[in-house]
């Protein structure tokens, strides 16, 4: 406890002695973490939308208007026995029209003027998440359903969902690269600031070495300095992220913010980055 108090009081005093260099390190860390935070928010929201789309009718089996109850049962049994469906729902012609009116309120009036309901009844089938990639099995089901009596058409959303997923994944890899670069830059900035501190404190370090201070006491303040810079940088990034989020949400009100665990990870990520930068310098001090 005494050691920790010593590390952090020395580190805080050291940060105060070089406010400009400290601010630079904090801003660099905050920038890196802010970009990471933006990436996480965008990613989480994209993922949420994709999941929602995936959950809705992935496989739509459109039915002829004259489908018989026996044919309906046969279609339902086939999808049920395939083992691919997580959820299946029969949507009647009336429900389909109502759904259209809800989804496209601007066109609801036009739909109301039609003499006959043009929307077909359908079975909406949601696939089991772990089986979505089983292309052959899903294609087999689609082909079997298409040839069944009473079925007008089978629409399968997999292809465009796959393309969207690929696009998101590619974006994720690119963003990860940028975040990694920023993280390295942040750790290096912390390292350089801590190195400046080490140069400014060389007299103290010499005395510590001469009196036989344990390595932990000689090196601890540098690591603590990195931790403080990283922690403050992360807090600044989180505050900036919150402000930016609320600003953007005035235009896109369905957006959601970072989940609490992610915010905590971001905070500890900053602390870890700072700690790393400080440690790299500290281990050179003997």
């Amino acid at each position: 406890m005494h050691a920790l108090r010593y590390f952090f009081s020395e580190a805080a005093a050291s940060l105060m002695r070089g406010p400009l260099a400290t601010a630079l390190a904090i801003v660099t860390i905050a920038t890196g973490l802010f970009v990471l935070g933006v990436f996480l928010v965008v990613n989480a929201n994209f993922q949420r939308v994709i999941d929602r789309w995936s959950r809705s009718a992935e496989l739509s089996v459109y039915l002829h208007d004259n489908v018989t109850p026996e044919q309906l049962t046969a279609i339902d049994e086939l999808t049920g026995s395939s083992g691919l469906a997580a959820h299946r729902e029969y949507v009647s012609k009336e429900q389909a029209l109502a759904r259209f009116k809800t989804d496209f309120p601007d066109l609801a009036g036009t739909a109301g003027t039609l003499e006959n309901n043009p929307f077909p009844a359908s079975f909406d089938v949601q696939l089991k998440p772990d089986l979505r990639e089983s292309t052959a099995a899903v294609d087999g089901l689609v082909s079997a359903l298409t040839s069944m009596a009473g079925v007008a058409d089978v629409r399968y959303d997999r292809e465009w969902l796959t393309r969207l997923n690929t696009l998101v994944r590619t974006g994720r890899i690119g963003a990860t690269g940028i975040v990694l670069l920023l993280a390295v830059a942040a750790a290096m900035t912390v390292g350089n600031v801590v190195r400046l501190t080490a140069a400014a404190r060389r007299d103290e370090i010499e005395i510590m070495q001469l009196v036989g201070a344990p390595f932990a006491y000689v090196r601890g303040p540098f690591v603590a300095e990195g931790i403080l810079q990283g922690g403050i940088g992360a807090i600044v990034a989180l505050i900036a992220l919150t402000v930016a989020f609320y600003f953007v949400r005035t235009k896109f009100d369905t957006l959601t913010f970072l989940a609490l665990p992610m915010a905590v990870i971001l905070l500890f990520g900053g602390i870890l980055l700072g700690c790393l930068g400080g440690y790299v310098v500290a281990r050179r001090v003997r």
Binding site: A213, P214, F215
Partner: protein, 219 residues
């Protein structure tokens, strides 16, 4: 306490700073190392402080061969040594109190004990009334007294002093030497390097004269 056995120290191009040096300093001794500049006094103190190791021979202190110590053992060894330098080596951004308390603080000693020891030694060197002053506000003699207080705050077994009176006038020098005598009277081994023969005469203790890395006179 200190056994120097045929120790030589060479630097680049084979220049000898110490040559085949042997001496014994017992527990509680007070010894002057003297001689002209470049005689090897400071080199011997550097070796005793384990800032360097001999090129040849052995240096045994308290039964430990200094060349064989691991980094952690060096730390432990240095905790038993107090040092005083000609240029005081005080931390300019710290007060007297902080300068002295710095040692127990970085050795992990508890706050109350730190304070007690620091007050005691500052009182002993007669500077308890200037605890909040900074080194630049003190005279050379006062700064050296602070350095001595810092050297003894950890209650070391040996005090090593390298030209501790080099920047002081004769009266202040004697005053500083009296402090060393008092430290020695409590049983601490004291080794002082100085080229001031008059001071040695006035203090009247054992002295070893070095020249070109060799002992040329023992008195």
């Amino acid at each position: 306490m200190i056994e120097v056995q045929r120790v030589s120290k060479t630097y680049a191009r084979g220049v000898y700073a110490l040559r085949d040096l042997s001496l014994h300093i017992g527990k509680g001794d007070f010894v002057f190392l003297t001689g002209p500049s470049g005689a090897g006094k400071s080199t011997l103190l550097r070796l005793l402080l384990r800032r360097d190791v001999p090129s040849e021979g052995q240096l045994i202190v308290g039964g430990r061969n200094l060349a064989e110590l691991t980094p952690r053992q060096v730390q432990a060894y240095r905790r038993s040594i107090g040092f005083v330098f000609q240029d005081f080596k005080l931390l300019q951004n710290k007060t007297l109190l902080e300068n002295v308390a710095f040692v127990p603080r970085v050795l992990g000693i508890g706050a109350s004990q730190q304070q007690r020891r620091t007050f005691q030694v500052l009182k002993w060197v007669g500077l308890q009334h200037r605890m909040s002053a900074y080194p630049r506000e003190l005279s050379g003699g006062e700064q050296q007294r602070v350095a001595i207080a810092r050297a003894i705050v950890n209650d070391p077994l040996i005090i090593l002093a390298d030209e501790p009176t080099g920047n002081l006038d004769p009266d202040l020098s004697l005053e500083i030497m009296n402090l060393f005598r008092e430290i020695n009277a409590r049983g601490t081994t004291v080794v002082v390097a100085t080229h001031d023969r008059e001071l040695i005469r006035r203090v009247g203790r054992r002295s070893l004269t070095l020249d070109h890395g060799e002992i040329v006179e023992r008195t």
